[in-house]
C-alpha cells in the first residue's frame, strides 16, 4: 500500500553541508534540467550500534511530525530492528525495536485503522511468523504481536487484497512455495484465507525471495508478484477481486546473451507512463555485466502480457541485487536505482522514455548507469524525501559495513523542487574508495537450487542468504539432497 504522506518542507539541515561541498564542485555552464548527471551529496552514514546485517530499509511518518522516519530490519541475533526518527531532516540515532527475531522485511502501514502507522515485519525463521508492532503515533510502539507463518518468510506485502478498504497481508515463504493470505477485519485482526501456491515449472527448488502487489491486468484489484530466486522466474498471481487468486503464471526475465539472470528483488512502477505498472528486476549474471531486466506491461485487460525484450547494463563492478524506482530529477518519470554486491556501487539509470501520450514511441529507454555511491553490498534501497526539499533522496543499507547510507539528492529538478542547486558537476561527489574485495569465485559455487546447473540463480541464492560477516568467507553450501541448504 502506497503511503499518501509526501510532506513538502522547505528547511533542511541534513544537506546543508552537502550543498556547500557540492557547490564548490560545480563549475562551468549551467546544464538543462533533467538532462545532466545525477548529483548526490556526500552520504550521511549511520552505522548500526550492533552487528545487524541490515536487509532492507523502509520509510514512513512514524511520529506524526510530517516527515519520513526510517526503519531498518536486519539479521540481528538479538531480534531487533532499528528505528531512526527524522527531526528536521536529520535522522536520529538508531533506536532498537524488539521484533522477536531476525527480520528481512518490514511494511509500514496503518493496520488497525487508528490513524497511526504500524510495522509489519517478516521474521526470517523456520518457525516463520509476522511480528506486528502497533504504533502509538509518536514513534513508540506496543510490544510485538506474532502471527505464525510457514518456513522462513523473507518478504511480506500489505495491501487491500479483498477490496474492502482495509489492508490485508500476503506473506511469502522462502522454503515453502506458498503465499499465505491474511485478511484484515478492519480493526487489525487477521483471519487466514486460502493459500496461494507458487507454481512449479522447473526441477529446481523455487525459493521465493520477494513479493509485491500491483494491478497488472487493469481489473481494479491487487495482484501479487513473487520473485522466486531458485526458479529464476517471477510468478504472477492474479487476484479475482476477493483475495482468491488464479493459478500462478511464471515468467522468466529477459535473457542477456542467452543467460537467465538470478533475481532477488523487484520494483513496481509505470516506467513508460502508459498508465499501467511495469516491473524492474536486478539480474545477477555470471561472466556478464549485471543488468536491469524490464517486464514491460502491455496493458492487456483480463490477462497479463509482458514485453521482456529490454535489459540495461547496471554495472560491471558487482552483482545487481536491490532495486528501487523514483523520479530523482523531477521530470515526471521514474528513474531506476540499483544496489550491487561485492563490490557494491549504487547506480542510477535515468529514464529517457518518451511516452506515447507525449508523442513519443513509448519504448522504455534507460541511460547508462551513473554511480552515486560505492561500498561493498547495498542490499536494500528506498527513495523518499528525507530532507523536505521536495526531491527524492536515496536510502541504502550496506550489509558489510552494517550501515544505512543517506544520499541527499542535489540533482537539478525539472519541476523546480530541490535545493536550488544549478550547474554542471565536474566530478560526482566522492563517497568512498572502492573497497578491495574480490568477487565471489564462481567456480566455487554449487547448485543451490538443485536444478543441475550452476548459474545466476545459485549466485543470487548465495547472496540472499549472506550475512554481514560473510563477504570475505563465502563458502560453498551443501546441495539440497538430504537436507535443504540454509
Amino acid at each position: 500500500m502506497g503511503l499518501s504522506l509526501r510532506t513538502i518542507r522547505s528547511g533542511t539541515s541534513l544537506v546543508c553541508s552537502s550543498i556547500l561541498l557540492a557547490s564548490t564542485l560545480a563549475i562551468g555552464e549551467p546544464t538543462a534540467f533533467a538532462d545532466g548527471p545525477f548529483l548526490f551529496g556526500p552520504p550521511q552514514i549511520i552505522t548500526m550500534p550492533t552487528p545487524h546485517s541490515p536487509t532492507m530499509v523502509a520509510t514512513g511518518d512514524l511520529d506524526g511530525d510530517g516527515d519520513f522516519d526510517v526503519v531498518v530490519p536486519g539479521r540481528n541475533v538479538e531480534g531487533f530492528a532499528y528505528l531512526m526518527l527524522n527531526e528536521g531532516g536529520v535522522l536520529g540515532a538508531p533506536v532498537e525495536l524488539v521484533t522477536g527475531g531476525q527480520t528481512d522485511w518490514v511494511e509500514i502501514v496503518d493496520l488497525d485503522g487508528d490513524g497511526q502507522l504500524d510495522l509489519c515485519f517478516a521474521v526470517r525463521s523456520l518457525r516463520g511468523r509476522l511480528s506486528i508492532l502497533r504504533g502509538n503515533g509518536d514513534g513508540t510502539f506496543l510490544d510485538f504481536e506474532e502471527i505464525s507463518l510457514g518456513r522462513e518468510p523473507r518478504s511480506v506485502v500489505v495491501d487491500d487484497l479483498d477490496g474492502d478498504g482495509d489492508p490485508d497481508i500476503a506473506a511469502m515463504n522462502h522454503r515453502l512455495p506458498i503465499i499465505e493470505i491474511l485478511l484484515n477485519d478492519g480493526a487489525g485482526s487477521f483471519v487466514r484465507a486460502p493459500q496461494v501456491v507458487v507454481g512449479r515449472s522447473t526441477v529446481g527448488i523455487p525459493f521465493p525471495q520477494g513479493i509485491r502487489s500491483v494491478d497488472l491486468d487493469a481489473d481494479g484489484d491487487r495482484d501479487l508478484v513473487v520473485v522466486a530466486t531458485g526458479a529464476s522466474r517471477i510468478f504472477i498471481c492474479r487476484n479475482q477481486g476477493d483475495a482468491t487468486f488464479e493459478a500462478s503464471e511464471g515468467w522468466r526475465p529477459s535473457r542477456v546473451n542467452g543467460q537467465i539472470g538470478g533475481m532477488t528483488n523487484l520494483s513496481v512502477g509505470d516506467l513508460d507512463l502508459d498508465g499501467d505498472d511495469d516491473l524492474v528486476v536486478p539480474l545477477i549474471l555470471i561472466g556478464e555485466s549485471s543488468h536491469v531486466g524490464i517486464f514491460e506491461n502491455r496493458g492487456s485487460v483480463s490477462t497479463v502480457e509482458f514485453n521482456r525484450d529490454l535489459a540495461f547494463p547496471s554495472t560491471n563492478l558487482g552483482y545487481a541485487y536491490a532495486s528501487a524506482m523514483g523520479d530523482l530529477d523531477g521530470d515526471a518519470d521514474l528513474d531506476v536505482v540499483i544496489g550491487h554486491a561485492l563490490p557494491g556501487p549504487v547506480m542510477v539509470l535515468d529514464n529517457r522514455t518518451v511516452p506515447i501520450a507525449a508523442g513519443g514511441d513509448g519504448v522504455i529507454r534507460l541511460e547508462p548507469p551513473q554511480q552515486i555511491a560505492n561500498d561493498s553490498f547495498f542490499r536494500g534501497l528506498a527513495v523518499a524525501d528525507l530532507d523536505g526539499d521536495c526531491d527524492l533522496d536515496v536510502l541504502a543499507v550496506e550489509l558489510i559495513s552494517n550501515s544505512l547510507w543517506i544520499l541527499p539528492n542535489l540533482t537539478p529538478q525539472a519541476n523546480g523542487c530541490g535545493d536550488g542547486f544549478v550547474g554542471r558537476v565536474v566530478l560526482p561527489p566522492t563517497t568512498r574508495e572502492t573497497p578491495a574485495r574480490s568477487k565471489i569465485e564462481v567456480d566455487r559455487l554449487v547448485d543451490l537450487d538443485g536444478d543441475g546447473v550452476v548459474g545466476g540463480s545459485d549466485l543470487a541464492l548465495l547472496l540472499a542468504g549472506m550475512r554481514g560477516d560473510q563477504a570475505d568467507a563465502v563458502q560453498p553450501v551443501r546441495r539440497p539432497e538430504g537436507a535443504a541448504p540454509r
Binding site: A247, D451, G452, R467
Partner: protein, 357 residues
C-alpha cells in the same frame, strides 16, 4: 574462520565436561535452537547439547548463526521417534511414530530438531500412513520412459530450456517410468496429443508419493501449473480432466499435495563419470523409483451430428425437424434425452453448429 572467543572459552572451561556445560545452558527458558540469539544455549535440550559438544561457544557465549547452522546439520537425527503424536502439535521435535517421523524429518528437517509445529502436522497428515513397499510390474506392452537418471530428455522447462523438453504420450499409451530426487532432480514431462476438446483420464500407479501436474504455456512465460493430483505410494489413482484448447503437458514428479520431494529417491544407476568408491554406502532410499502412467482419451461425442458427417449443419437441422415431437428410443434427434424433440433440442443443435471437435 578461527574463533578466538571460542578458543578462550575452551581454555577457561577446561574443568567442565561438555555435557555438564550443555545441561547448564539448555532448556525451556531459552529461545529455540533454530534462531540465533544473544544468550548461550537453546530450547531443545538434545540438540543444544549435541551442538555444544562440537562448539562450546554456543553454550557459553552466544547462540549465534553458526550455532543455528550447526543445529541444522547435527540435530536432524536425534528426534525420531520422540514424544508427541505425529498428528498433534507439540513443542518438542519429532513424534512417536518412527516411520512417519523419519519421513517428515527427511523433507522438513526443522521438524526433527525444532518443534513439531502445525506445518509438521500437516505434512504428517499428507505423507504418513501409506508407507508400504512395493514393486510395479509393468505390462508387456508398456512403453519405457527411457530416461537414465543423469540425463535430461524430458525435464520440461528446467534449466535454461527455451522450449519444453518433453516425451510424447498418445491416447492409450502406458508409460513405465522412473524419477529420482538426485540432483539435478528428475521430473518427467509428457506432451499431450493436440486434441482440442474432450475428457482425459490419467491413471497413475507409483512406488513413491507422486504428483501429476497439468502444465501449459511457454518456458519463457507465461507458464502455469493449473492443477495437480496426488497418488500415495503403492496405490493407483485415476485423474480425469477436461482441457481447453492449447498445448498441455502432463508432468510426473515425486511429491505430495502442494510440495515436491527433495530427497529420498536417490538414483539407482552408476554414474560412469563419477563411480562410487568401493566402500561407499548407498544413499538411503525411502521408496521405489518407478511409476506406470496410462493416458485414456474420451473425445466429446458430437451428438448433434445426426447424419454422422463430422459437422452439425443444415442436413442435421432437417433431420431434427423431421423427428419433431414425441419420440421413442432410439431417437437420435432427442439430444437432451427427454423423449421429445422440441425447442431444447433445437437449441442444442444450434449450439453445436459447425465442425465436430
Amino acid at each position: 574462520m578461527i574463533r578466538f572467543d571460542l578458543l578462550l572459552a575452551v581454555t577457561m572451561s577446561a574443568a567442565f565436561t561438555l555435557n555438564a556445560a550443555g545441561q547448564q545452558q539448555c532448556g525451556i527458558e531459552l529461545p529455540p535452537c533454530d534462531e540465533p540469539h544473544g544468550a548461550p544455549g537453546c530450547l531443545q535440550t538434545g540438540c543444544c547439547e549435541l551442538v555444544c559438544e562440537t562448539d562450546l561457544f554456543c553454550c557459553e557465549v552466544s547462540w549465534d548463526e553458526t550455532c543455528v547452522e550447526q543445529a541444522a546439520e547435527l540435530c536432524g537425527d536425534i528426534a525420531c521417534p520422540n514424544l508427541g503424536g505425529c498428528l498433534e502439535i507439540h513443542e518438542t521435535p519429532g513424534c512417536l511414530d518412527e516411520s512417519c517421523c523419519e519421513l517428515v524429518r527427511l523433507h522438513d528437517p526443522f521438524c526433527g530438531y525444532g518443534t513439531w509445529d502445525s506445518i509438521c502436522v500437516a505434512e504428517a497428515e499428507g505423507w504418513c500412513g501409506v508407507l508400504a513397499e512395493c514393486q510395479i510390474e509393468p505390462p508387456l506392452d508398456a512403453i519405457p520412459e527411457g530416461e537414465p537418471c543423469l540425463e535430461r530428455i524430458n525435464d520440461g522447462c528446467s534449466q535454461d530450456a527455451l522450449e519444453a523438453v518433453a516425451s510424447l504420450i498418445h491416447c492409450g499409451d502406458q508409460i513405465y517410468g522412473k524419477t529420482t530426487t538426485t540432483v539435478p532432480r528428475d521430473v518427467d514431462w509428457f506432451r499431450l496429443p493436440a486434441t482440442t476438446d474432450g475428457m482425459w483420464t490419467a491413471t497413475l500407479s507409483s512406488e513413491f508419493p507422486a504428483r501429476l501436474l497439468l502444465v501449459t504455456g511457454d518456458c519463457e512465460g507465461p507458464i502455469r501449473t493449473v492443477d495437480q493430483y496426488h497418488v500415495d505410494p503403492c496405490t493407483s489413482g485415476d485423474w480425469s480432466f477436461v482441457l481447453p484448447e492449447g498445448q498441455w503437458y502432463l508432468v510426473v514428479e515425486a511429491g505430495v499435495s502442494g510440495r515436491a520431494l527433495r530427497s529420498g529417491l536417490p538414483c539407482d544407476e552408476i554414474d560412469p563419470k563419477n563411480p562410487p568408491d568401493d566402500d561407499e554406502e548407498p544413499l538411503p532410499r525411502t521408496y521405489g523409483l518407478h511409476y506406470l502412467l496410462q493416458l485414456d482419451c474420451h473425445p466429446v461425442e458430437c451428438g448433434a451430428d445426426l447424419d454422422g458427417d463430422g459437422a452439425v449443419d443444415g442436413q442435421d437441422l432437417g433431420l431434427l425437424f423431421v423427428a419433431w415431437g414425441a419420440c421413442s428410443d432410439p431417437c437420435t434427434a432427442d439430444l437432451d434425452g427427454d423423449s421429445v424433440v422440441d425447442g431444447q433440442d433445437l437449441g442444442l443443435l444450434f449450439a453445436a453448429w459447425g465442425a465436430c471437435p
